[in-house]
Assembly symmetry: C2
Homo-oligomer: 211 residues x 2
């Protein structure tokens, strides 16, 4: 088997999942974010990636971590520069809230290409892999189109990974329905334990919480 692929997993330990504040308390958001991180780390390891947390404050997890308080893009770019990615030493960046990510879906990041991109819902970039040292990230706003442009700017070949499981990050209430419908890890268990259930009506499935 090939060497594990070094992988950054950015984690906002100090203020996780603020857009879920209408359905979860701060302590719950932290617990749910931890459960998703458990799932992502387990799936990465099962797929032969070697994760390193890039966290805004120290965690007590049994996984290598770099603490960097700067904004996400600055912290990731510093780590990319330090890694100096190449075809022999690619670097992946995988978001910590991909509650549906499976080892099989993550493995698709190893597709050929200088830069491999997996879009998130809402214009973001949920996972990527770079084999080029000069590629830089910019997660602000609609980052996916920006990353396509950034790759073009450095003449990098791009592979787009078409994955629903990697596109689903759990940012907003509607995303919880995806985790309940399709998840099978710690994040789904946490939601079930917290009293969330699927609400199947007309249109899309949503969630309700037991009082």
């Amino acid at each position: 088997m090939a060497d594990p692929t070094d992988t950054l997993v950015p984690f906002a330990a100090d203020r996780p999942k603020t857009r879920l504040s209408d359905v979860l308390s701060p302590a719950e958001r932290r617990a749910f974010a931890d459960a998703m991180l458990d799932d992502v780390l387990a799936a990465l390891s099962a797929a032969g990636f070697r994760p390193r947390l890039l966290t805004t404050e120290p965690t007590d997890r049994d996984v290598p971590e770099t603490v960097d308080e700067r904004p996400l893009s600055d912290a990731v770019n510093a780590a990319v520069a330090a890694h100096d990615p190449s075809p022999a030493a690619p670097l992946a960046v995988v978001m910590a809230d991909l509650a549906l990510a499976t080892p099989r879906a993550l493995s698709r990041l190893r597709a050929p290409g200088d830069v491999v991109l997996a879009a998130g819902l809402g214009g973001g970039t949920n996972a990527l892999l770079t084999r080029r040292p000069e590629f830089r990230v910019d997660y602000h706003g609609g980052s996916y189109l920006d990353h396509l442009r950034a790759a073009r700017r450095v003449d990098a070949s791009v592979r787009e990974v078409d994955s629903r499981l990697l596109a689903t990050d759990a940012d907003e209430r509607a995303d919880l329905a995806e985790v309940l419908s399709h998840g099978d890890g710690a994040a789904r268990d946490w939601l079930v334990d917290a009293g969330f259930e699927l609400d199947t009506g007309d249109g899309r499935v949503s969630v309700v919480r037991e009082g």
Copy 2:
């Protein structure tokens, strides 16, 4: 090249896209639905599928059509029974509002398996292919999990296609941002002509419409 794969494309010609009524007039919803259908039919044909419209009322399109006024699941199941799917004569069912579906993504429906399923966002089933005559659909509510169960009930092997492009149906306002961000066909052009633009702020990209 193999024979084209027969494919049903259900189309609610009489009441399209009702969940977009907060942003589009009835005439606009019909025009947008037509543009998405153009894109889906073109992508299917390019990928070697032979589409047949399953429509609630006659259209004047240059594509074979079956008119069936019954609810979606009844109409599809009647067509499935008439086709009598088998490994030599599979039948696909692809929704008409998959504005991001590419030939490559659609080709993944030909993966091995008695029943091949591609989930939609919100618990639905956006595309499927059956090689088994006794598999029946039920699109009500969270149909994806129901279809997994239905396949199990008839002892069919299931392949799940993990595709963001097939998962994205344009049902709600937030979906329009996906079409604007990632589309490149008639549906995207229609939105641009209608004055829609991406609104890139914090969080997910959304759409605004020029007054």
